[in-house]
């Protein structure tokens, strides 16, 4: 794995990032440095601004304010350097669904400027590893959620990026597909590449990541190596609930009729 602008350069450096949608502030001034070569989790409840942040970091959404650098290159001033180095799997955006899985990979790879034969070779291997070989000629529109995430991941990996951004890659994915995705990602970070992924499933983040950033209401509440963020709490889940101040809201007395067999 080539280290782009040399060792020590963070994978992502974000400074003073803001985004408003009308009245609502989605991202309220984020400063963040994500170290290279790590498996990084961006966690937070729904509506915390994770997707907005990742969209701005990957150049799919223009920030109101702030700068983003990926491996030392400014996302908005130097798109040539940045776009070749990153792979993206966004949440809530479509793929070209009227192509088959194989056609989608062939299209993406060639659009990235890779030679045709190389694209086809990599596509075959990715389809095999991701257990999609049997459905490679089916249109993506007929794929299940898990299969869509996997073909999206294959598209994002095809050009061997230095940094991979995944927005909720395990959302709605069955356990078997999730394990497959996990295996591929672990192998990928093992070679020195960086994965940044967002999720609201703490157990998953805890078991996969060695570095986390916690987001809530458009701000970063905590970031650092997993152990540091977890601190004294028994699990990341507990630490997270404490950080976002959502502890102790356990519904009790009102639902006294629920369960117990009596109707």
């Amino acid at each position: 794995m080539t280290e782009g602008a040399g060792a020590g350069v963070p994978a992502v450096r974000v400074q003073g990032l803001w985004k408003r949608f009308g009245e609502q502030i989605a991202v309220a001034g984020i400063d963040l440095e994500l170290p290279a070569g790590r498996f990084i989790g961006l966690v937070g409840p729904n509506g915390a601004g994770k997707t907005t942040t990742l969209s701005m970091v990957t150049g799919l959404l223009r920030p109101d304010q702030g700068t983003v650098e990926v491996v030392g290159h400014d996302v908005w001033r130097d798109p040539v350097e940045v776009k070749a180095r990153i792979g993206v799997l966004p949440e809530g955006l479509r793929l070209f669904e009227r192509l088959s899985g194989r056609e989608l990979l062939a299209y993406t790879g060639r659009l990235r400027g890779l030679p045709g034969a190389e694209v086809d070779k990599r596509a075959t291997q990715l389809l095999d590893v991701l257990d999609l070989a049997g459905s490679q000629h089916k249109l993506v529109v007929d794929y299940s959620t898990g299969m869509r995430k996997k073909i999206g991941l294959a598209c994002a990996l095809l050009h061997n990026p230095e940094v991979l951004f995944l927005d909720e890659p395990f959302e709605g994915v069955d356990p078997v597909s999730a394990q497959t995705i996990r295996g591929v990602l672990e192998r990928y970070t093992g070679s020195g590449a960086t994965v940044v992924f967002s999720s609201h499933v703490m157990e998953l983040v805890e078991s996969l990541c060695d570095w986390v950033a916690v987001m809530a209401a458009g701000r970063i509440r905590a970031h650092g190596p997993l152990a540091e963020v977890r601190g004294g709490a028994p699990s990341l889940q507990e630490a997270f609930l404490e950080l976002v101040g959502a502890q102790g809201r356990i519904a009790g007395a009102d639902l006294d009729w629920l369960g117990g067999g009596a109707r």
Partner: protein, 537 residues
Amino acid sequence: MSAAGGVSAASITPVVVRLKLSLLRNGLRQSAGRRAAYISSVVLVLLFAALQLIGLIALRGNTHAPAVALLLVALLALGWAVMPLFFPSGDETLDPTRLVMLPLRPRPLVRALLAASLVGVGPLFTLCLLLGSVISVAHGAAAYVTAVVAVAVALLVSVALARAVAAANIRLLSSRKGRDLAVLSGLVIAVGAQLVNFGAQRLGSAGGLSQLDPVADVLRWVPPASAIGAVDSVSDGSYATGVVQLLLAVAALAGLLALWSRHLTRLMTSPDGSTLQAAEPAAREKGASGAARLLPSGRTGTVMERSLRYVWRDPKTKAAWVTSLAIGLIVPVFNALQGTGSIYFACFAAGMLGIQMYNQFGQDTSAFWMVAMTISSTRDAYVELRGRALALLVITLPYATLVTVLTTAMLGDWPKLPEVLGLSFALLGAMLATGAWSSARFPYSIPQEGYKNVAPGQAGLAWISVVGGMVSAALLAAPVIALTIWLNVTSGGDDWSWLVLPLGAGYGALITELGLRMAAPRTAGRLPEILAAVSKG
């Protein structure tokens, strides 16, 4: 709560009817615009119903009255049969899979759903038409009695027909292919309207209504029109024939209900379409892999290949293309057929097809992000847009040429062929140029479901994009138009009119290139804004 007793048969019917009423009411509550649209459509339907009611009553006593009444009822039944195929989401109680979790038995359910389907504008309209039909044919007390039964039976047959068709095809309708079909329904309606128009014109011509009689002789035995046939027979005194016809309609009703009930039982006890579809072995989608080898390599060929695949595979894109191709052919050729045409109408084909260059990125929907991730320079954007323009030309150039040659052949005006071709090419070039530019400057979302081609709130944008673009395209093509006019009015200009072909083609190519060059930096510089604009669908 006592849920143990189950739901008795008698109590379901009012529940389902109330459900239907609530669905209607809640549909109206969603927005004022929807309410206005619904109310105006109800008023329109009622006006139309009243008009045909008056018309049918006026026909009473006319020798052709039975023929007209039979034909109208048969057409209406046909409408009921095809409606669920094209408007599957039109009536939510039509979808039995929504009730699958409830502990209901088929027989009471069929009764309840049938009662619920009698609520609405469609059944009301049908009732008006049936009333008008029997009034126009019934003479005598026996006929009036038959008429009352006939109206009820015919109405029930129509409604049961829609239900049975929906239940039999729900697997198709709830699948992706069914939704694709629904998108194409607008086209079917447009073509159907043309056919009706054609039929009406023939009826209006010499011979008139008597042409209907042979058709009516068949229809009077086909349910539900046979119920109206029964009234007619009884009016004539042939009671036996009338009874047989009425029994036919009743038998049809029973048959439809049995069919519906059987499908309903099967639907409620078997996995739904999505599960079955996921379990299906992968079918190989035939691609243009052979022809793809002819495309240029690199980004250009890749973009062209995807664009061309989408013309065939994406229902929205396909519908737009078929519309353009059809109108581009129909206008010049029909005008030529009627003898009123000008050869210059052939330029219509180029104009209609050029429209497909507009809103290129809107056609991608939010999948545009995949394109945006690979555009990092003006050069990338230029190659992307050029690939799309070339894909369009692969279809458009031969088609526009064909339409022009065809129109010329029909009018027999061969000397004009070169200049009309030149004019077409210039116009096409201007459309491609303005299309590329407005794709970058005024992108808008195309919703994937339904018939709308513009997302809510973006109608103005779409209007600027297409209308503004077409006006500018006409202005851009003005030099070639002016040259053609000048050659036509100057004495001896005809000798030089062939010059319009090379000049027009060259001008078209030049202006396309310029348009692409101007659109590229705008595309490359506005990627996030374009993505946001096309992701609303």
